[in-house]
């Protein structure tokens, strides 16, 4: 990734050090239900932050509080060093929150022209952002005639207007076809490369794994974890199949330690990085173990997510069939 450009200047804030978004014990209660329960999250400048959680986990509620659309029951949120929801903050944020909301009788272009007026921007900005989301050709069509994917792209276009410091996108790939999803991910990465901070809410784990620098996992209103994608997925391990299994198990425990080897049917999961694979294979061969398979496997974000939110949901055979596996050695 190319180096980030110089940070934008915001009065009273050191954007190099101060987080762009910081919430402290942010809580929203609807009757007996806690939609957000003491959520304390931090989004750093220039990163793509993935806000991850199943439907109804509290993602949108938290984002709405960050945008000042709803008041927290308790706790606080600061954006760009100021209380969330203040005019000087909202004018520096672009947001698509819980689906695009536009006037159905207006064209896509006119909808954006209305929003440029609210933002105090030149109306030509509407055409610029329509081009960025590949809607320039359909900008003259009425919003109500748009497909779900086109509506979603128009929502993202509105969020991009005026090059805001922070862009909040709530499920931006909803309704997009695979090509549209790929384009949207590319756009988000470009935004981050341009120095803009992106706060992305999604339940599409592959999407988050692919484009996010850091992730906050939320479930039942509680922020369960906040870290980099790499930290969340943890270290890679080795999958080993060898016969006889008992001897292979003993050798693997001798190399990695007793607690670092787990038997899964006929397979061994060994907590060793791929760099230790040659050593393990040499020891297995020396012990006259027939090595049928050795490969490095990494947990996908999906597996980590399910472990956090529902326990070992993916379990068993499927658990190690993630698409990140790399074959290191065979037989």
């Amino acid at each position: 990734m190319p180096p980030r450009p110089d940070p934008p200047k915001v009065e009273g804030m050191n954007l190099d050090e101060d987080p762009v978004v910081r919430t402290h014990d942010l809580t929203k209660r609807y009757g007996d239900r806690l939609a957000a329960d003491r959520v304390s999250m931090t989004v750093r400048r220039g990163e793509v932050y993935g806000f991850l959680g199943p439907n109804g986990a509290g993602k949108t509620t938290t984002l709405r509080m960050i945008l000042g659309l709803i008041r927290p029951t308790s706790g606080s949120a600061q954006v760009l060093g100021r209380p969330a929801g203040t005019a000087e903050v909202t004018e520096r944020i672009g947001a698509l929150i819980e689906g695009p909301g536009f006037y159905p009788y207006l064209s896509g272009r006119d909808n954006l022209r209305v929003m440029t007026r609210y933002r105090g921007l030149a109306e030509s900005v509407a055409d610029e952002v329509l081009g960025r989301v590949d809607l320039a050709d359909r900008g003259g069509d009425r919003f109500k005639s748009y497909s779900l994917g086109m509506k979603q792209r128009l929502g993202v276009a509105a969020a991009l207007m005026g090059d805001p410091d922070v862009i909040v996108l709530d499920e931006p790939t909803n309704g997009l076809d695979p090509a549209g999803m790929q384009d949207m991910r590319r756009l988000i990465v470009e935004l981050a490369r341009g120095g803009q901070t992106v706060l992305l809410s999604s339940h599409l784990l592959d999407e988050v794994q692919e484009i996010c620098d850091r992730v906050g996992v939320i479930n039942d209103g509680v922020l369960l974890n906040e870290s980099t994608v790499k930290e969340l997925r943890g270290a890679a391990s080795l999958l080993v199949r060898g016969e006889p299994v008992e001897r292979a198990l003993a050798v693997a425990m001798g190399v990695a330690g007793d607690d670092a080897v787990h038997l899964d049917g006929e397979r061994l999961m060994v907590d060793l990085g791929p760099d230790r694979a040659p050593e393990l294979v040499r020891r297995l061969v020396a012990a006259e173990v027939s090595v049928l398979e050795v490969r490095s496997v990494e947990r996908t974000l999906e597996e980590v997510f399910f472990e956090m939110t529902r326990g070992d949901h993916a379990g068993g055979q499927q658990r190690y069939d993630g698409h990140d596996e790399k074959v290191e050695a065979v037989r």
């Binding site: 402290h24 606080s76 929801g85 005019a87 000087e88 944020i93 006037y103 209305v114």
Partner: protein, 298 residues
């Protein structure tokens, strides 16, 4: 509780700039909204039909309708000429014009909840108060323009009668015309603001329009009927918007008689009526503004 996540209190300069920006934006979207023009068109059509066309046909054919029963031919003709415009263009406002302006206010506020456009607008920059003030300002521009367009339209119609009936052109008193225009703006604006309040309260165009129309066209009339029997109810009805609007218009065009214009009343004096109408003009935006700035936007 600590709530630093709150709608903003803008600086005076920022508030003015935000209000101007919001007004421009809202004017653009209202100007392109067919529902706005249909509503205004319906009012112009009603004014044309009941103010001029039916009376003109009656005059020409010698027949009478409910709107001119008992009138002499010469009186019917006089009411169609320019001198009578200050009366004609406002007499339908307490009921039909008001109902349509209430509908307009209700859909301007209520539809934006249904379409989710408030959440889009409120993440654009201007503070909620500025957005709200801009929305009301744009609505008011359309209300005032509607009243002025009604005056001009009525002039056109009456001039047509002058020409076709070979009458002498006698202009109305400009003082009377200005007074009627002012009253018309107050009455129509009051109903539009009440509609806006209903649209904000219910967050729904359908419910707010339904409630508003039932209230204006049915409930107030029923209450006034009950008020003739019960003193406390009668006192209450004098505080209602329809009573204020009807009495204010009635103070100009006259009320009562064997065939009164629907909605035109003499329950209050002109002075009392204007106090009631102005009270609604002040209180409804205050209450709406309080709701808009305090409530969550779903």
């Amino acid at each position: 509780m600590s709530t630093t996540t709150t709608p903003s209190t803008p600086t005076a300069t920022g508030a003015v700039a935000g209000t101007i920006a919001s007004t421009r934006a809202e004017l653009l979207r209202l100007r392109r909204w067919p529902a706005v023009w249909i509503t205004i068109g319906a009012w112009m059509a009603l004014t044309t039909l009941f103010g001029y066309l039916f009376n003109y046909l009656s005059y020409k054919t010698g027949d009478t309708s409910f709107s001119n029963e008992g009138e002499t031919s010469q009186k019917m003709l006089a009411e169609l000429l320019p001198g009578y415009i200050p009366h004609v263009f406002i007499q339908g406002m307490p009921m039909f014009g008001g109902a349509l302006m209430m509908l307009l206010g209700a859909i301007v506020a209520g539809n934006s909840y249904g379409w989710g456009t408030w959440k889009t607008v409120l993440t654009q920059g201007p503070a909620r108060r500025s957005v709200f003030a801009g929305s009301l300002a744009a609505l008011s521009v359309f209300v005032v323009a509607t009243v002025l367009a009604t005056v001009v339209w009525c002039f056109g119609l009456s001039l047509f009668v002058v020409v076709t009936e070979s009458q002498t052109l006698v202009w109305p008193s400009w003082v009377d015309l200005a007074e009627s225009t002012g009253v018309g703006i107050l009455v129509m604006e009051m109903f539009a603001l009440i509609g806006y309040l209903l649209g904000t309260l219910t967050r729904s165009p359908a419910l707010s329009v339904g409630l508003g129309l039932v209230w204006v066209l049915v409930v107030e009339n029923l209450l006034r009927g009950v008020g003739e029997l019960l003193g406390p109810v009668e006192a209450f009805t004098k505080l209602l918007p329809g009573t204020g609007a009807g009495s204010l218009v009635g103070s100009i065009v006259g009320a009562g008689g064997p065939d009164p214009t629907p909605g035109v009343l003499d329950a209050l004096s002109g002075g009392q009526a204007i106090i009631v109408v102005v009270a609604y003009l002040v209180l409804t935006p205050v209450l709406t503004g309080w709701l808009v700035t305090r409530r969550d936007v779903a």
